[in-house]
Every structure is written in C-alpha cells, then in structure tokens.
C-alpha cells in the first residue's frame, strides 16, 4: 500500500517536471485538435507520433500518449455540438443532444457542460485507475498459463461479440490479425514460418508499420474518396462567432447535473472501459441510457439535454482510465487507443502485465497522473482554443492529408530505418482501408495481431504442461473462470442485448 502511494506521488512529481508537463500539454492539445477534426482521431495522433517516442524518455512518451488519449476523447465533442459531426465515434450521443442545444442558441452552454463533464469524468477515471489497477495486478499474479490463454480468448471473444451485427466479419478480422501475427519466427521454437518464401518476413510484421498503416494510411485513402467532407467543411464556416469569456466554466452548470450524477457517469464509463473492445462509444451510450432512465427531465432527451451531453462526455473520458486497467495488468487493451498505447509500451521495451505493475509501477504512474492532469486542463483548453474551434475544422483536406501521409510514411521508415517498413505500412493501410470500408472491424484485426503471440505461447505452454491434454483448460480454476465468463458474456452480448444501433458499439 505504501509502495503504491509512493509510486503515485512519484507519478505526480514526474508529470510536474517542466519538460514532461510541456509534453503533456502538447499531447492534450494534439489529442483535442485531432479529435475535433472529423476523420482524425486521438488514436491516429498517437500512431503518427509513435516514431518520436524513440527519442523521448519512456515516461515522457507515456505522459504524452496518455494526454493525447484524454484529449482525443474530449475533442470529439466539439464538432459534435457545433456542427453535428462527431469528431470521434464516442461523441455520437453528444452530437445527438449537443447539436440540438446549439440550434437553440445554447451551443456554448453545451460546450461548457461537455468540457466540465469530460474533466470530472476523466479525473475520476484516472483516480479509479490509480486505486484499482495495482489490486487487479496482484490478482493477475494468480492467473497461471492456462488462465492467461483463456483470458486472451475471452478478450478476443468480447471484441468479436461487440460487433454482433457483423459477427462473421468480426471473426474474420480477428483471425486475420492472429494469422498475420504468426508470420516470422515461431514463438516457441527457432523455426521461421509463414514467410511465403520472402526472407524479409522472417522478422515478422513490424508493430509500428502495422499501426501507422492501419490508422494513418487507411484514413488517407478514406479521405481520398469523393465524399461529403467538403459539404461538412462548408457548414462549419456558417457558424456564428462566440466570445472567449463564454467558455469559462460556471458553478451553476455543475449543480445542474449534480455530484452524484457525475460520479455515476464516471463509474459507468470506467467499468465499460475495463471490458475489452467496449471503447468510448459504448461507455457514452450506456451512460446516456442510464442518465435518461433516471432523469427528472426525461422530456428533454432527444430535444437537447445538457444532462445527456454530460452523461456521454463524463463516461467516455472516464473510460480512458478503465481501458488502461486490462492493458496494464494483463497486457490486454480495452479499446483501439489503448491498443496503440500498448504498442508504445512494447516498442519502448516494456511488457505490460502483473510483473510490470509490481516491479516497474513507477514507470506507469506518470502516465496515470498525466491522465488526471490532462482531464483537469480540459476546461482550460476550452477557454484557450474554444473560439478557434470552428476555424480549425475548416482546414483544407488536401493540406491535412498530404501532411499526414508524409509524416506517416517517414514515421514508418524511422521504425527500422528501412523503406521495407514503409512498404509494409502501405500494404497494411490498403488492407485496413478495404476492410473498414466493407465493415470489417479494424480493432478486432489489431487486437488479434497484438494478442496473437501471447495467445499462442500460453496455449502451447499449457498443452506442454498437460502432455497435450486439452482438459487442462477446464480443470484449471482460473482458466475455467474465464471460459465461463465467455459463456456468460456470450449469452448477454449475443442474445440478451437490445442495442438498436449497429454502429454504436463499433469503434
């Protein structure tokens, strides 16, 4: 307990070092700006900045990515409210309520509520992460090899099941990720496999090239299509101007929602975030639905409800802390962004899991503290750049994506100083573009790729321990627990859930 407290204090003091604080602010602004522009996300920002983490300290890198994560969750609300275009998928419910307020001339009120709720949700989520993650990590030490296999299987299952409206596409995307992960040297013996006769594939597919391809290159290809983006950009320019003082937080806004509701939204968002594959959009939707159910003013929902905005934004920012729990304690990311953050950890030589949480806890506490500080700074961001939001989203698409394309390709080169990785990023980008365009969830593909090696190692170790007897997975209590969880979640996610919107849980 004392070590945990000291670790947390170390985290706060590390973030407050001027250089780290600067990178946190840069990260927060980057996340907000990327999420505010439709088509760009905080995840893309982290993927693009991956190469420069090589030249930063691990702690500084993690501080920056954590603040991008927080900023990315909040930034989506800006265009959601102002022009009814969610900058990020997690801002769909915010757009639903917030833009109606905007049309009634209460746009600034909605923006203030979004910022305040994001801030409170983010702070509570970060505090819950600090409080519970070490305890989960201690519990994780009791999970043995068969249990680890069953847990990874459970994570993959939940991710697939969260795309239940395109179940087979989810399965195909996950298996494809697992297949790509098997390319290279075998995880348990010095055998090169699945190289298709190309010697350069012996090293396997580079994680950075994978992330850059899946997010940056594929997004550039999406934006190359003739689409409605130009019309959206034109719509931004019609919005009226507002004053900076309009963006200052008001205490009356806080009491309008109430501390109990803020806490409820944050707790819901946090625990939805803990579930693998759920993501910010699920957190926002669950919280919104609960807020509507318990509301004293249900008639406002659907007509512009500040409570609805607060519920969605509080939950999706609290989700940031929740989604880092399985990533840090088991190495299993809760959503796409935490999958990319996992990539940052791996690329920097860290292996998330219970061991890391007990022996290298001080390396991750600055990241947790950065989540908290970033959340505190959200209302300040609104005050500083609020008036420029509308100008921001009208940046020329050509300028934006030409820059992103070059940064992405050069970033892929920097990963191993080889043009081979640029080619790999391009191929993966084309594949990811075609997959996402046809409804195959990229998050499933990515989680399959990242979790594949661990899945195989634990599967083969378990079978080696049991002399090839697969019954070890049902006789081992921890494994049996996670297999039963698959059954329970399968029942609720596939048969009992009444989610009416096929896009809602897909992020």
């Amino acid at each position: 307990m004392m070590d945990q407290l000291l670790g947390v204090i170390h985290g706060f003091s590390t973030v407050l070092v001027p250089n780290n604080f600067l990178f946190m602010v840069i990260g927060l602004l980057t996340g907000v700006l990327f999420a505010a522009v439709p088509g760009l996300t905080g995840t893309l920002a982290i993927a693009l900045l991956l190469p420069i983490t090589f030249s930063l300290d691990v702690e500084t890198s993690l501080i920056m990515v954590a603040s991008i994560f927080m900023g990315g969750q909040y930034g989506g609300s800006i265009t959601a409210i102002t022009v009814n275009i969610p900058g990020a998928p997690s801002a769909v419910m915010t757009a639903y309520e917030g833009n109606k307020l905007m049309r009634k001339g209460k746009g600034v009120l909605a923006l203030r509520h979004a910022a305040m709720s994001s801030s409170i949700g983010g702070v509570l989520g970060a505090l819950m992460l600090m409080a519970f993650a070490p305890a989960v990590a201690v519990g994780a030490l009791y999970v043995q090899t068969p249990g680890k296999f069953a847990l990874i299987l459970f994570a993959l299952f939940v991710v697939i099941a969260s795309h239940k409206h395109d179940l087979f596409k989810g399965i195909i995307a996950t298996i494809l990720g697992l297949m790509v992960a098997t390319i290279g040297i075998d995880v348990a013996s010095p055998v090169a496999r699945q190289t298709f006769g190309y010697p350069f594939l012996i090293e396997g597919v580079n994680l950075m090239a994978m992330l850059i391809g899946a997010f940056a290159v594929s997004e550039m290809l999406v934006q190359a299509e003739p689409s409605a983006t130009d019309a959206q950009t034109a719509a931004f320019e019609k919005q009226p101007k507002v004053r900076r003082s309009d963006f200052f937080p008001r205490l009356e806004n806080f009491w309008e929602i109430g501390p109990f509701n803020y806490l409820k939204f944050a707790v819901l968002g946090y625990f939805v975030g803990v579930l693998p594959g759920a993501g910010g959009s699920s957190a926002a939707f669950v919280s919104y639905a609960e807020a509507k159910r318990a509301s004293k003013k249900p008639e406002e929902y659907g007509n512009g409800s500040v409570e609805g905005v607060a519920a969605a934004e509080g939950a999706n920012n609290a989700m940031c802390g929740g989604s880092l729990v399985p990533m840090l304690t088991f190495g299993i990311p809760g959503d796409t962004t935490s999958a990319v953050i996992l990539g940052v950890l791996i690329i920097n030589g860290l292996q998330p899991g219970p061991q890391m949480m007990s022996t290298q806890f001080e390396l991750v506490t600055p990241m947790m503290a950065a989540l908290l500080f970033s959340a505190i700074l959200i209302p300040v961001v609104l005050i500083v750049i609020g008036p420029y939001y509308l100008k921001l989203v009208s940046i020329s698409k050509a300028l934006l994506y030409a820059t992103i394309a070059v940064v992405a390709m050069v970033g892929a080169y920097v990963s191993t100083f080889s043009t081979l990785q640029m080619g790999t990023a391009l191929i993966i980008g084309v594949g990811a573009y075609l997959m996402s365009k046809n409804g195959y969830p990229i998050v499933s593909f990515l989680l399959g790729f990242i979790l594949g090696p661990d899945l195989e190692v634990n599967l083969r170790r378990s079978l080696t321990i049991s002399d090839g007897d697969p019954l070890i997975f049902v006789t081992s209590p921890d494994s049996l627990f996670f297999l039963l969880m698959i059954v329970v979640f399968g029942y609720f996610l596939l048969f009992k859930s009444n989610d009416p919107d096929p896009e809602m849980g897909a992020e």
Partner: protein
C-alpha cells in the same frame, strides 16, 4: 471511418482476396510439417487451426452476405469504380514514394510526393488562374516538406536519407 452498404462485388472481392491469402497461408503452414509433435503442438499448429477457422468464417460470411443481399434487394449491387480511382491514385503515389525515398533522397522524393498528393486531393482548385494554382501548390508542397524535415530531423534528431540539406 466505417462506410456501410458497399456493393456485392466489393464484398466478394474482399472475400476472394482473403480466401486466396488463406490458401497460401495454409499451404505454408502444411509445408512446416505435422501440427502435433511428441504429443504437443508444433510451430504449424496454430497456423493450421487459424487457416481452417478462417476458411469456415469466409464461407459463413459468404452465405451471410448472400442472405443479406436477398433481404435488401439488388439496389446497391453495383461496383462503383468512381469511389476508388482517387484512393488507387494515392496508393500508386505512395508506392512511388516508397520506391524513390532512399534513391532520390528525402527532399526530392517528398517534395514530388506532396505535390502529387496535393494535386490528387484538388488543393487550391478554386484558385483564380492555373498559374496561381501551380504556384500555391508548389509553395505548399515545399512548406510541408520543410515542416516534416524540421519535425523529424531538427526536432527529434532522426536521420533521413538526405541528398541536400534543407535547413
């Protein structure tokens, strides 16, 4: 990012491409030898299992897609090449950039790549004259190249294959 209601041929092309990849993947896996050695899984075990599961998934999705199309009629079953010509252009330009990156050096290859991408995306299409458009595009391409160089080389000390020093 996710677009819905893509045409039936597009879905079929994806499924066929995945089936071809799975075929090669399974052949490679089977070439590795037996999937169980001395009673425990070998290096080919997971690839064979994944290949088989993938084939099952592809067949299931194919049947699923047929059912879905039957349900919604044939109204969106046309292949829209127009959607793809710009992305294909972007892919070709990027492939050219990868090819020339080390050969021409960062400065020239990046400048050409950005110029081509800006043109593809229709940058400054509303400019009053062609001359002004060309000038604006060239100046922007130079600015982006300089920005990326500054970001990586001067900002983070990354070495790029340069032929000339920009700054």
């Amino acid at each position: 990012m996710k677009l819905r209601n893509t045409s039936f041929p597009e879905q079929l092309i994806i499924l066929a491409a995945l089936a071809v990849f799975t075929g090669f993947y399974l052949k490679n896996a089977l070439d590795l030898g037996s999937w169980i050695k001395y009673g425990i899984p070998s290096a080919s075990f997971l690839p064979i299992v994944l290949g088989a599961l993938m084939l099952f998934g592809l067949v299931a999705e194919f049947i699923n897609e047929l059912r879905r199309r039957r349900g919604i009629g044939d109204q969106i079953s046309t292949f829209r090449f127009g959607t793809y010509y710009k992305p294909i252009g972007a892919v070709l330009l990027t492939a050219g950039y990868v090819y020339t990156f080390a050969r021409l050096g960062f400065e020239i290859s990046t400048l050409l790549y950005v110029l081509a991408l800006l043109s593809l995306f229709g940058f400054s299409a509303s400019a009053e004259s062609l001359g002004r458009r060309v000038l604006l595009t060239c100046a922007t391409a130079l600015a982006i190249t300089t920005f990326v160089y500054t970001f990586f080389v001067l900002g983070f000390g990354v070495q790029l294959p340069t032929r000339w020093v920009l700054l």
